[in-house]
Symmetry: C2
Subunit: 374 residues, 2 copies
């Protein structure tokens, strides 16, 4: 994918602000929801018994006091935050540059987002999808009028097929996550979240001493897959005093970001079948430069499959929103990762934004996760 | 239940407005959501094949043009609209009248609502629940600090136990649906829905000729169980030009409202195990006087279990909201009942409010509905 855009904006908050002005007419300003019952659970120490067999066995459970603000990108156009980056990336290209269409590879939500954004702009879209993609995601992508081209499921296999499409059609490549225009587009959600926390009546949060106080966010935690969203949020919030954290599934090495940070070197290949299927990709190169910058991203944490399911059950039953498993990883970290919970205490993180990245799953998939056989 | 309140307000729109001023500080102004994909489905005629075996076999499928506004009471306090009526009913009683507590019987959401409202007001609550109630609803009711007393599952069995509690404790009876104060409380959602439709940008609805136009609602359709909500909505909207419809499950005679209207006589006993468990109750006496008034309620329609499930799948996967089966009955009528769809064409109903009454269900219950065994 040697193609690059002629001019890209620098990765700064003001570039994210400019991106927001461009994409705002085409996207939803998604709601921010709160739940006093989830806050109570998050603010109750885990039991010592529940820590047996974990790295924190025998330690005193942390006791953070948390008020969570859920940014509901599951209500975004196409059901996921990816619409932001797709519209922004298309806005940066000339008519000439997209006259033969656009192409991308994606395990799902970026596919739908680019298909939708391209149709809105009257541009032909080719989407390279792993043949094992969720049938509902394939159908939705076709439903937005895109040409779906199948590939194997690794990043390398997808890129080969995307290259073939480019050679055959002259279509322009729109990367799923590792590009400044995508990063800046995804970062726009952080600007809205800041505004919405200010708008919300926060009187229900009785004791916020220690945090930054009403109308402000101490931190934001988002899912981390390829890293476009986390980089975007970190770019938007850099210098504001709001800390940024990432969260990953640990299953089968899906925590490539966390491991890479520990080793001081980006991990370029990941092969995991975690239920958080939007987070199976390795961290992108540009995104790595942002995420490995400690002044921008405070840290990355990971959780297991059962913890993701527990968080998902709470988000469905208590917050009453329909979310895909990838969306549930940040809350799982908040509830179950003692290292993260201790950091919240140490850093006085009390008012915490939690990104629900998307809601593209099916009743059948949820039944498989929570049915009697599991 | 011979107890009645000392003074009840008349069933008029201005009484609903007064109720709204009273309850607004304690309840959520729940969001109104829209979905272009569900609108498209609702505005596409059913196939002739899908009508085979129905009363409409061989008829030309109706072709209404619908824009749906979903009033999301699943995001209400305690997860259901019942919080409105409970707070309003308590507000009408003096300290003296509730000094020995309050009592009610309910299959679920009214139980939680009264428990929550009573705790908020510092009043003891006794809740008579059928022993076959959903475990999550029993747990939630206890979680709000109420004393749960079990009974059989018919209305008669529950009333006997409630009477025993009253005799033993001196608690005040708060009826689940058949009382003016409950009716007026539930009706407050209609006032919000009217305002919110005005607030929403409706430019996306390209052709609204025939309907009443932007910012107005042609009609509202709500679930019908005991009838408190439908009566309240009809009371609030009476004289406004917005028509009001009810919807019921037909399984095992759950459509007592529709059948009663056809016979011109209220049906007082219902025994159904429909999945729409909030709608298993017979229509109340006061509610019957409102609902059988054709100037207030235009009509009541019913749908089968599979149709409710299909509507539920759409609300979960497309609208991305967590709803219980009772909430899905109105959309099922909109999508599948040809009589209703023909009425929409005949009456120029294009802009339609759809009440999602609650979201109190579990991942296990949803898995049972949509898992491989079903």
């Amino acid at each position: 994918m040697s193609q690059s855009y002629a001019m890209t904006a620098p990765l700064t908050r003001s570039s994210v602000e400019a991106a927001h002005r461009v994409v705002a007419p085409d996207i939803h300003r998604t709601p921010v929801l709160t739940s006093s019952s989830i806050d109570t659970i998050a603010s109750t120490p885990q039991s010592s018994e529940s820590l047996i067999g974990t790295p924190w066995e025998g330690q005193t459970p942390a006791s953070p006091q948390l008020k969570l603000f859920f940014k509901c990108e599951n209500f975004q156009k196409v059901g996921a935050f990816k619409a932001r980056g797709a519209f922004h990336a298309l806005s940066r290209l000339s008519e000439e540059e997209v006259k033969n269409g656009v192409v991308t590879h994606s395990s799902g939500n970026h596919a739908q987002a680019l298909a939708y954004a391209a149709r809105t702009r009257g541009i032909t879209a080719y989407i390279v999808m792993p043949s094992i993609s969720t049938p509902s995601k394939i159908a939705a992508t076709r439903g937005y009028g895109a040409n779906v081209v199948f590939s194997g499921s690794t990043a390398a296999e997808r890129e080969v097929v995307a290259k073939e499409v480019i050679e055959r059609t002259g279509a322009r490549f729109i990367p799923p996550y590792d590009h400044p225009d995508i990063i800046l587009g995804q970062g726009t959600m952080a600007l809205e979240l800041e505004e919405q926390v200010k708008e919300l009546d926060t009187e229900s949060f009785k004791d916020d001493s220690g945090g930054r106080g009403r109308g402000l966010l101490d931190a934001v935690i988002s899912p981390l897959g390829g890293g476009g969203m986390l980089s975007g949020i970190a770019t938007a919030l850099s210098g504001t005093g709001t800390r940024v954290f990432g969260s990953e599934p640990s299953f089968q090495g899906g925590d490539d970001g966390r491991r890479g940070l520990a080793e001081g070197k980006r991990i370029t290949s990941v092969s995991t079948l975690t239920i958080a299927d939007g987070l199976r990709t390795p961290l992108g190169e540009i995104n790595w430069t942002v995420i490995s910058d400690k002044s921008k991203v405070e840290g990355v944490y990971s959780v297991g499959e059962e913890q993701i399911k527990k968080a998902m059950k709470l988000l469905l039953e208590r917050l009453k929103v329909w979310v895909e498993p990838s969306s549930c990883v940040p809350l799982a970290v908040v509830l179950f990762d003692e290292d993260f919970r201790k950091e919240c205490v140490r850093l006085n993180v009390r008012r915490l934004g939690v990104v629900l990245s998307g809601g593209n799953t099916t009743v059948e998939a949820v039944s498989k996760l929570f049915g009697p056989d599991e």
